[in-house]
Amino acid sequence: MKYLDEYRDAQAARKFAGAIAKITTKPWVLMEVCGGQTHAIVKFGIDELLPAQIELVHGPGCPVCVTPLELIDKALEIASRADTIFCSFGDMLRVPGSKKNLFVVKAEGGDIRIVYSPLDALKVAEANPEKEIVFFAVGFETTAPANALAVRQAYERGIKNFSILVSHVLVPPAMEAILSSSQNRVQGFLAAGHVCTIMGYTEYEPLVQKYRVPIVVTGFEPLDILQGVYMCVKQLEEGRAEVENQYARAVRKDGNPLAQEMICDVFQIIPRKWRGVGEIPQSGFALRDKYRAFDAEKRFDVAGYSAEESPECISGLILQGLKKPFECSAFGNRCTPERPLGATMVSSEGACAAYYCYRSHTVILRAKPEESHSRSFAERRSAQDDNWKRQNVKN
């Protein structure tokens, strides 16, 4: 299949893996930001093709995973109302709130519909004027333009029975939160290709400058990821830290200006809480005052919710690349996709769920942390600094 088969070609993949091995002289820790990339890495066993010195850790870029528990509870509360039709992307329905999930609310009589676009939810609103239609607006910058468009169309067409429950988060602030932590292990990033399709990649320049970390905008197919790893490792080995674009067939430096204009018109940037991580400054979207009437949290008065996460869950450490799923004592026994304890197990794109679905459970449970885990942060950072200095002296 065009644009698919050629990116899953075994021979080309081995060639890339060989090229990565050839240029790798030191251990490096790379983080893929997006859940879609994590899913592809674990599903296709891409990490198994890499030299042992390259460790891939899995970032916070799964929107389903990082949606806070209390927001799920708000969704459940709204979806339970008799006068409401609650519309959502399919993968949010299985995510558990404090007590139940949207599937259970549906079984209890809630009118919950899976849609493929927020514009479909708008059609539901027009077809059901006697009902309140709420769309669960979850996602990163990727889904924000379509959600913004739905709100703008509702505003322009005077559709009063439509609102959205906003849980939009932004990638660059999360990357900065990881980089600024004293425990950070990440030495290079594979940035989320689809986010950059919308936003471009100029906003990564300050991160590269400030933290001297290579950032490679990367796609989602096996060869995309291998090429992203190659470009990232090459920078690290050569002591460079730049923003590079592996996913050039989809991403332009300035992204999609029309989509950005749409986002900017409808949303403003606010601090947001990330499930498993906590609050990150300037890391999410809320509706601007002009569109406040379409805010489901205000319309249904569910603003004061709070919820407690399981104390056993280490998803916060996993999302920051500090731990791997198999290092959690609850993994595969007290925490499974059927009964997830926290963020990284709730969605199929979460790191724990991907490991659970695709890796042999017994092998994972037997596995020991890799060698690179035992190297201190100072040792790893020092290797990176050496390369950096060498490069700057040369220049």
Partner: protein
Amino acid sequence: MSKIKTFSPICPIPITDYPNVLLAHGSGGKLMHQLIEKIFLPAFQNPYLEAQHDGAVIPLQNTKLAFTTDSYVVRPLFFPGGDIGTLAVNGTVNDLAMCGAKLLYLSAGFILEEGFSTEKLWRIAQSMKIAANQAGVQLVTGDTKVVDKGKGDGVFINTSGIGIVEHKLVIGPRSVQTGDKIILSGDIGRHGMAIMAVREGLCFESEIQSDCASLAGLVLSLLERGIEIHCMRDLTRGGLATALNEIAKTASLHLEINEGTVPVREDVQSACEILGLDPLYVANEGRFIAFVPASEAHKTLEVMNAHSLGAGAAIIGEVKSASEIIVTMINRLGTTRILDMLSGEQLPRIC
């Protein structure tokens, strides 16, 4: 007294998990198996049910009777390549075929919703007539009920079927052996994606048609060639991956398939990619897998390839020794991963 001892009034499924039935309980995944294992198997335990095959094979005097039942609740009722009537006949015919049975008779029960179009009902009955004729089976008894408007979805159909097993083979998951080859009768995912495309109003360059068909003729050809079939399973709800997991579990064996050998048509693959679905879990209505000894694999393939419904058949994997009860897949890049059973239905992804 012994009867009292075996009776437990406590529901074995923790009530806090799912006090009510979810749609996911009907998807063929882990939740459905939980219902079967925790509620139905203990309630009705007997050796025929515990074989957990597509139908029961029951000795009756000097012969063996195959018996199966299935209910059909598809939406939309009419879809490219068939309708609920075609499904109701072929689904039950195929369950009997998977037991290696020669088809005899079907029954049909109709639950109609008040207000349902009689013209549509006539069309469904005509489809059933054609499907039954093609499969060489007679529909000999039936039942009709009508429920209040809003209490049904147009029409629900239940069909049961009986057939006769005229050979000595014991075909079922427990007959699967280490070293057996796994043969898939053709490309996968067409029925599920045909339904999905109509249900969700998705338009593709060419219309995806359901693969709904009777497998009786193809299975009969295999039996007539004297192939030592250990097990067969049609790949309905939950698709290929679920069928493999069911068999691995019942047979207590490790099954391994090779992703590159599993045929998926380009239009089906494209539709799955757009929606974030995996064709390995998508339903089929005219495809099955057969487990045969390695020495019989090529003969099986030859017979299948000679039949119109098996033209794309391929050897997709084999049965390994049971170090773990598991299904694994060697993927396109040459690495190996688990092919697990899903909890419920596949859900379209956010992005």
